[in-house]
């Protein structure tokens, strides 16, 4: 058996689902953010793998992946700033305790 596209897809699927799981179950906003990073990495594995196996003629996939990495950094920056600002006022980073507004 040689290394093929499917291997990478399996890896990315598992990583995506792990990230999603963190997003759904972790109370800490920072941990949720880490879950999001895992999901984005899963997408990036897909992109780079497809670039190699499906369309090696151009580097669109890798460019896409680089853009996603940049966006992940931006999201982390803004998201962590929001976490900090919420923490200052509400003194918690547990998102299930941040639910004044509902219904």
């Amino acid at each position: 058996m040689t290394l093929g596209l499917t291997h990478f897809l399996v890896l990315s699927t598992l990583l995506f689902c792990l990230g999603l799981f963190a997003m759904l179950t972790r109370r800490n906003a920072v941990a949720i953010l880490m879950g999001v990073e895992l999901m984005l990495n899963a997408a990036n594995i897909n992109l780079v793998a497809f670039n190699k196996y499906v369309a090696p003629g151009a580097l669109n996939g890798q460019v896409f992946a680089l853009v996603v990495i940049t966006l992940a950094a931006c999201e982390a920056g803004v998201g962590l700033a929001l976490v900090m600002s919420a923490y200052r006022n509400l003194e918690t980073v547990h998102v299930d305790e941040i639910n004044v507004m509902k219904w």
Partner: protein, 163 residues
């Protein structure tokens, strides 16, 4: 064959540390094990002949983002740490949802005949990526810089205390 072995080792590193990220009761340990996960993924990129992406992955992800996350964890230490329950009441529905989604995705991926285009990746992807960013992806490149600018500005506005 050697590639496959390398892939398996990298996958195991990535997934095991990702499980720690997701499941650890200690948030600091979660954040720290994000580093091997991201480094493992960088290794996967090298396997995929994407050295440049791998490099960026190490620099930005494993370096900058993880450090940022650790910083925030330290700063909000009062509200974090092992003293608190780290998971909410959604573990069961979450598990089921994730399992179903994983099964669906796997089934679809295995059943799909992905198209294969002719051609090979360039020898040195870094140069080609640079060229791409300055030609066909020029707009993407410029807009990315603006996104970074607003993200920077937004993060400052939100994170700074009001005087």
């Amino acid at each position: 064959m050697g590639q496959l072995a390398a892939f398996i080792i990298l996958s195991v590193v990535t997934l095991v540390s990702a499980v720690v990220v997701v499941a650890s009761q200690n948030i600091v340990r979660s954040a720290l094990s994000l580093i091997p996960t991201l480094l493992g993924i960088a290794g996967v990129y090298i396997l995929l002949q994407a050295e440049y992406v791998a490099g960026i992955q190490v620099l930005i992800y494993a370096g900058a983002i993880t450090v940022l996350i650790l910083f925030v964890i330290m700063l909000t230490e009062h509200g974090t740490g092992a003293r608190f329950r780290q998971v909410n009441e959604q573990v069961l529905p979450g598990t089921i949802a994730v399992a179903v989604l994983a099964a669906l995705l796997m089934a679809v991926f295995f059943g799909t005949a992905w198209p294969r285009a002719a051609g090979t990746l360039p020898q040195y992807t870094a140069t080609s990526i640079g060229t791409t960013f300055l030609t066909s992806a020029i707009l993407v490149f410029i807009v990315t810089s603006f996104v970074l600018l607003v993200a920077l500005m937004g993060a400052i506005v939100i994170a700074r205390r009001e005087r």
